[in-house]
């Protein structure tokens, strides 16, 4: 990060902050990866593990909070340093949220495993893969302060939203075709929604990277649209009759 501070211990504190964020990011990635694997394999044991592991992320976030608040008080940082520290504070909370959503996916997995498989599960797994790549890339972008990589993550959120919207339609259609699908489909829909939210947080982190590097938030309106909010699937389009 450029030249060193006159006060060396300040640099050490900033490095420590970076390490904490790297650890959080790594953990969140593993949690998400495991959650998706557990979903595919209908592995309830693994899902329970993921739920238990989430505490570690909560602890780390609390540590980051403490460390940043102490730094703000001690150093009264300015300019780039101020952005670094406030940025870390925000990114930590976003990583923690990503962890929460991974945990929520794992919780749903326990229920889904009890029910007959739904064909859409494969598309949801694909959605998960996209989100996972976004999270991985945005954490890399954050740790290396790579603006281009952050921009590419931000651009990919649209793709994720589009896939989510199509899953939403698909699941709604199954539910109308056969009410016995409703339970499994609802759980799967929640999983998809959690994954879509993970993508939003990855995008938020990308915006923080932009802020860290340039000093400004991205100027253009965020390219995000979850069309499921406006999606209606009527009974007769699916051929259902009552």
């Amino acid at each position: 990060m450029g030249s060193e501070h006159t006060v060396k211990s300040f640099d050490e504190e900033l490095r420590r902050l970076d390490n904490m964020l790297a650890e959080m990011g790594g953990l969140a990635e593993v949690q998400l990866q495991s959650a998706l694997e557990a979903l595919i394999r209908r592995d309830t044991e693994k899902a329970a593990e993921i739920v238990a592991n989430d505490r570690r992320l909560d602890h780390l976030e609390a540590e980051v909070d403490q460390h940043t608040i102490a730094m703000l008080a001690r150093r009264q940082p300015m300019a780039k340093d101020l952005r670094e520290i406030v940025g870390a504070l925000k990114v930590a909370s976003m990583i923690e949220r990503i962890g929460d959503y991974a945990k929520n996916v794992a919780k749903r997995t326990a229920a889904i495993a009890e029910m007959p498989p739904v064909p859409s599960a494969q598309t949801v797994v694909r959605l998960g893969g996209l989100a996972q790549q976004m999270v991985k890339d945005v954490l890399d972008a954050y740790l290396s302060r790579d603006l281009d990589q952050a921009k590419s993550v931000r651009a990919r959120d649209r793709e994720l939203d589009a896939l989510y919207t199509s899953i939403f339609r698909e699941l709604l259609t199954y539910m109308m075709e056969d009410p016995r699908n409703i339970s499994a489909c609802t759980h799967l829909l929640f999983v998809a929604k959690h994954i879509e939210r993970i993508g939003d947080h990855a995008t938020n982190i990308a915006e923080i990277v932009h802020f860290l590097v340039t000093g400004e938030m991205p100027a253009d309106e965020r390219p995000r649209q979850d069309e499921s909010e406006m999606t209606i699937v009527t009974a007769h389009t699916t051929g259902g009759e009552n």
Binding site: G2, E4, H5, T6, F10, M78, A79, G215, E216
Partner: protein, 269 residues
């Protein structure tokens, strides 16, 4: 606006005026052969606090002293470029320097009250500049200035006691009262809080914010936090050059120049 009002009431209608109080262009200052400032161009706006920051020896005080021709009294000091106060060249032969220093008041690092009573410290300026037409008016001005400087309540029962008997923070507010008693347009402050404790500093900062309503204020400070707290505009000097000026918020969150960044984040070796 008629001329007489213009000298005494200028500050009040200033907010509407887009013309800066000071317009300085290509200001260079030499101490003998040594050049201390190079081509400094900066506007000082009314109803704003402009803070000047930069490492020791970069020329902040030198620049400040140009604005009320305090450099005139330094042997071998030469100033070039243009410095306009309300469009008037303050280095023009026709400029009355004594009057200029009333229009552009100064507050120094170390409070320097005269060894006289509190009342006399404030009354001195209005008296020599013939601002008050009688004793009642003079008393009103002293009263008013002490009030504006936030000192009145603390000294109103001891106006005849020596100003030097006040605490450091009170002395500095007395000096501010003395500066505003002559109804200046601009107040220059060179590290006005560096000899004060945090509470006295906070009171001066609060005062600066209030005074902004009536005056243009320029403050030199070594405290980034202070500059960030009290000013709306900030200029960063380095090696006699004005490296960057901008809105204070921008300078302290997102400076454009690497030298500014390095200085305010404590990266200068």
């Amino acid at each position: 606006m008629i001329a007489m009002q213009a000298t005494t009431g200028r500050a009040t209608d200033a907010a509407a005026s887009p013309v800066p109080a000071f317009m300085t262009r290509d200001v260079c200052v030499f101490y003998g052969q040594k050049q201390a400032l190079t081509n400094v161009s900066l506007d000082i706006h009314r109803n704003q606090v402009t803070s000047l920051i930069g490492p020791s020896g970069c020329g902040k005080s030198t620049y400040l002293r140009c604005l009320n021709r305090m450099n005139d009294i330094i042997d071998g000091c030469r100033v070039t470029g243009s410095i306009l106060l309300d469009g008037q060249d303050i280095y023009a032969g026709s400029m009355d320097v004594v009057h200029l220093r009333a229009r552009v008041g100064m507050v120094f690092q170390k409070p320097n009250p005269f060894p006289k009573s509190i009342f006399e410290n404030v009354a001195y300026g209005p008296r020599i500049h013939g601002i008050a037409k009688d004793k009642t008016e003079l008393e009103a001005i002293v009263h008013n200035s002490l009030e504006k400087a936030g000192l009145l309540a603390e000294v109103k029962d001891r106006m005849d006691q020596p100003g030097t008997g006040l605490s450091g923070g009170q002395q500095q507010r007395l000096c501010i009262a003395r500066a505003i008693a002559v109804q200046p347009e601009v107040i220059l402050m060179d590290e006005p809080c560096s000899a004060l404790d945090p509470i006295a500093t906070a009171r001066i900062e609060e005062l600066i914010d209030e005074l902004r309503e009536h005056f243009a204020i320029v403050i030199v400070t070594h405290s980034m936090q202070q500059a960030a707290r009290v000013s709306q505009r900030t200029g960063f000097f380095h090696l006699g050059i004005l490296v960057e000026t901008g809105d204070t918020e921008q300078i302290f969150t997102n400076p454009r120049d690497k030298r500014t960044q390095d200085y305010i984040t404590g990266r200068f070796g």
